[in-house]
Each structure stands twice: as C-alpha cells, then as structure tokens.
C-alpha cells in the first residue's frame, strides 16, 4: 500500500491546520487510514477489508473535513488505473451516514498495480477533487 504523495497544496494545508486544528481532527492520519486534501477540504478513509484484494469487492468509509467557511454538500467516489487509462468495471454507490461522513460500496480493483482513488467533494463553491494512490498487489 502506498500513501498519497505530499503535494504543495498539502504542505500549504498543514500550515492552515496549525491555525484551525479542530476542523481537521476527524481527518487525521492513523493506522489503516488513507488521506488526501486540497486547500479547502481534507478527506480520510478506511477500506474494508483494510488490504484491498485484486478482484474482490470492497467498501470504504470516508470523513470529509472542510476548512472553516467551507460547506460540504456531497461526495462522489471513483478509481482508475492512470497507466492503463481505464477505470473500474463497477460503479460504487455512496451514501451519507452523518455530517461529513460517507460510506461507499461496490468498488473493485480488477488488476494488480497502481490505482488512483478520485474523491469529488461537492461544495457550494464548486467541486474539490482529491486523488489518493493505492497499489493493489
């Protein structure tokens, strides 16, 4: 499993976090937690099972943590293999389970290699897109 690479936006966000740590508390990194962020939102998620097996359906639970002043109205989840230029053969279904909490079912990585999750966080100001890499063995 490969964690997301730190981006310039991520480093900038770290600075913002120092000013408002509580806003991102639910999206902190931890064991088994995968994480991504933009300048406006952070997102942390866990998959079930924790290690994704090629060819088997999995689900995930995500927490979306907006920067102060940003309101989250929805979340879309998808994944693709950038090197192969294809996505999944299955369409995940996402439902909100609480404020900023979402559950997605019906994901499957059908090939080994580098996959990339794409989370589209919907806000009144537009879409915040977060990518998180994952290598399926």
């Amino acid at each position: 499993m490969k964690p997301k690479r730190r981006t310039a936006a991520g480093l900038a966000l770290s600075a913002l976090l120092a000013a408002s740590p509580a806003a991102y508390a639910a999206c902190d990194a931890g064991p088994g937690v995968l994480r991504g962020e933009t300048s406006k939102v952070a997102l942390a998620f866990r998959t079930t099972p924790p290690v994704i097996k090629v060819g088997e359906l999995f689900s995930l639970r995500a927490e979306v943590c907006p920067q102060a002043g940003t309101r989250v109205s929805g979340l879309k989840v998808d994944a693709s293999m950038p090197a192969h230029k294809h996505g999944m053969n299955y369409q995940p279904r996402v439902r909100q389970t609480g404020p900023g909490s979402y559950a997605a079912t019906g994901l499957m990585f059908h090939m080994p290699g580098r996959w990339q999750f794409t989370f589209d966080v919907e806000t009144p100001a537009g879409r915040e897109r977060i990518h998180v890499d994952y290598t399926a063995e």
Partner: protein, 406 residues
C-alpha cells in the same frame, strides 16, 4: 509472514543460483518482484466456494443429478445434444472447433468458441460476454436456445418427472418431488442448479508450473531445477515484460474480467458480436440473475457485483479473460476460435495491431515484439500449465436408490 519468509528464502536461493547460471536463465534466478508475481499464481488447486445463490451447491445428491444430466442427450427434445456433446471429456471439455456447432438437422455454426469447463467455478461471470452471474444461471442458455438444445422448461420438467432414475435423484437433491407442469420453470432452474453443482467439482490437478512454484516457495532448488529452462524463460516473459499476468492474474490465470485485445468481432458480414457490452445488458435483464427471484441467497449479497456493474462504450468488443490452465489442450483460441495454435496467440500479442483496438482500449496493450526464441519460450511456459491429472469423468452414476433403501 510465512509468505514473506518463503519469498526471502527463494530470493536467497536465486542469488546463489545466479552465480551458477549457464546458457540461458537459471530456473531459480528471479527478482523479488518476479518471485512475488509467480507466487500469485497459486496455490493450486484453490478451494471451490459454495455458491450462496444455489442451495444445492456442494451437495452430493445434487452433484449426482447434475452429472447424470450433463451426459444425457434427452435434455434436448431431439435427443441429439447433451452438454457433453460440445464439452467433450476426451477433449478437455471443449470440442476442438473454431465455433461451436448447434443441434437439430441444421447443426448451425454458433457465434462463439466452446470454452473448457475445468475449474469453471473459479469464475465470477459466465459465458464469453459474462452474460450470467452464476454458473447455474448460465446453464439454461444452451438448454433453451433454439440453435443449441432447443428445450423448453416443460420439456426439462417432463424429463425429470418421467425418468424414474432422474426423479429419484431430483427428490434426493431437492427434498421434494419434481414440480408439476404448471411450475416447469422451477424444475428447469433446479436442473440448472444441479448441473452447476456438478460443474463445481471439475477441478484439474497440479501442473509442472505448480510444482515449480511450490519448489520456489519452499526454497527447494533441486525440485525447481527440474522445471524446463525454456518454460522458465517463458515464465519470466509472462510475469515480466509481457505483462500477461496483469490480466491472466491469480491462481486460475484470469482476473475474471473483460478486455478488448484487438480481436475482430464481426460474426458475419453485417453482424457484430458486442461482447461484454451485450453481456452487461443480458445479465441485468436476466430473470435468473443473483438479484432475481430464483436466487437462493436471501440477502442477495452475492449479487453485489451485478448490482454495481457499470456499462460504457469501452465494453464493446471486450471478451472474458480465459483461464490459461490446460490451455495447451483447448485449441483453438479466442472467443471465436480464430487462432488455431498457441504460437498464433503469442504472435497476436507480439505483433498487436493497436489500430484495431477500440480507441478506449487498455493502454496496457502494446506489441511485445518478441523474437522467435522468446515466442517459443512463452509457448513452452504455457504448456507447463497442463494438469498432470484430471478427475474421472465417467458418466455412469448407477441407479438411484430411494432413501431408506439399501
């Protein structure tokens, strides 16, 4: 942890063996990444999971009924075609034809190649287009199709009811008498479930490749060295630069999904085989699918894949990735059998015409540009996937004895 230790052991052996390498690649020389890729193709055989949508999956009495039906030509109203007419035991459960031959006086040429049935229960989609989401729900297709057996549910119900031996086996398998005429469809579905229970038992034995893989895993240099050198080089191509193992993934050498590999999909002038595109529509509309009323999975959980299927234009011309186990015995190849030999298959990938791929085809596919020697090595590897043994396919099951009778 144990797997990691085995990989480390194999890597250490590989390091030592590399020093002794002579002409060609030593059977033990491999990078940790290659060793990991090789280990993914086992262990073998894999356990056959019970199908929750089929309540008689794994049940001995249903297996006996399914076996009797598999070899019984009376399943077709003309009594001219059994499952075993196309899935010939002496031909590794295929028929050796490019495209299957139907039943009846016309014996029409069907659209697709007859796939082998060994290890069929390892799949998740059935048929070249994956138009069925369980083994049992695929089975009514050849039984009912007018170009194949051409039966009706009523015919199948009558056969089960009127033949004392089959009626006895049915009662033992399902714990009740064959349904009446008015419920012939239930009898058909039950016959399909019994056939699936039998098909689940078709598991082929270990191959020379499996023995090599196990030798690597336990660090047995002497046993690993018995693997032919040309096959070993071919395996390196398969799991390495050829990227074959990305799709031919896992113990059954198939990721169970669908890909467009640039095969023409015209069935005849003016008629196209849509492949997976049609399969997705078919499985969604299938009243026998895992989400439907005939599924025995009360939770419908096993239908999750069907529920989450997505369809896009890239599915056009995709066909199922076949297992490569026993591939040397199942010529000809591809969904329409257009490639006669394994050499032709390897040449297809070596000289792949990317213009023939759908514009959204996998970027993974590129011409391999193999030398003649490399092509021969790859074929040599594929030949080592032939099982050393197959379970007995004797169709005779003996007379059914009603329960309580000795």
């Amino acid at each position: 942890m144990r797997r990691t230790a085995a990989l480390i052991a194999a890597a250490l052996i590989a390091t030592g063996a590399a020093a002794q390498q002579h002409a060609g690649l030593s059977p033990l020389a491999a990078s940790p990444e290659e060793l990991r890729n090789i280990q993914r193709h086992g262990p073998w055989p894999q356990p056959v999971p019970r199908d929750p949508s089929n309540r008689v999956s794994g049940k001995a009495e249903a297996i006996a009924l399914g076996r009797a039906l598999f070899f019984d030509p009376r399943l077709s109203p003309r009594a001219d075609l059994s499952c075993a007419s196309c899935h010939l035991p002496e031909r590794t459960l295929t028929d050796g034809r490019e495209r299957a031959q139907g039943g009846g006086p016309a014996k029409p040429r069907l659209d697709r190649n007859t796939p082998g049935l060994w290890n069929v229960a390892q799949g998740r989609w059935f048929g070249w287009d994956g138009g069925s989401d369980s083994l049992w729900s695929f089975t009514p297709r050849p039984i009912l199709h007018p170009d194949e057996m051409g039966a009706s549910p009523a015919h199948v119900a009558r056969l089960l009811r009127d033949d004392a031996n089959l009626a006895c086996r049915y009662a033992q398998a399902f714990g009740r008498a064959v349904p009446p005429e008015a419920d012939a469809e239930t009898a058909l579905v039950d016959a399909a479930k019994a056939l699936a229970a039998y098909l689940e038992t078709l598991v082929s034995g270990k191959s020379a490749f499996d023995e090599f893989r196990e030798a690597l895993a336990r660090g047995d240099a002497a046993a690993a060295a018995r693997y032919p050198a040309d096959a070993r080089r071919g395996l390196s191509l398969f799991a390495g630069k050829g990227l074959c193992s990305v799709c031919h993934f896992g113990p059954n050498f198939s990721n169970g999904e669908f890909h467009n590999i640039g095969m023409p999909h015209m069935v005849e002038p003016g008629r196209v085989d849509p492949g997976r595109h049609g399969g997705i529509r078919r499985v969604r509309a299938d009243k026998y699918n895992r989400l439907g009323a005939y599924s025995d999975d009360a939770t419908r959980t096993s239908g999750s894949r069907t529920l989450h299927l997505t369809e896009n234009h890239g599915n056009y011309g995709q066909f199922k990735v076949p297992s490569l186990r026993n591939v040397a015995l199942t010529a000809p190849y591809m969904h329409d059998g257009r490639l006669a030999t394994l050499r032709e298959v390897v040449r297809h990938y070596s000289e792949l015409d990317i213009d023939r791929l759908h514009q959204d085809g996998d970027a993974l596919l590129k011409p391999l540009r193999l030398s003649d020697a490399e092509s021969e090595d790859l074929v040599a590897f594929l030949r080592t996937l032939t099982s050393r043994g197959f379970p007995d396919l004797n169709p005779v099951t003996g007379p059914c004895k009603p329960q309580g009778q000795r």
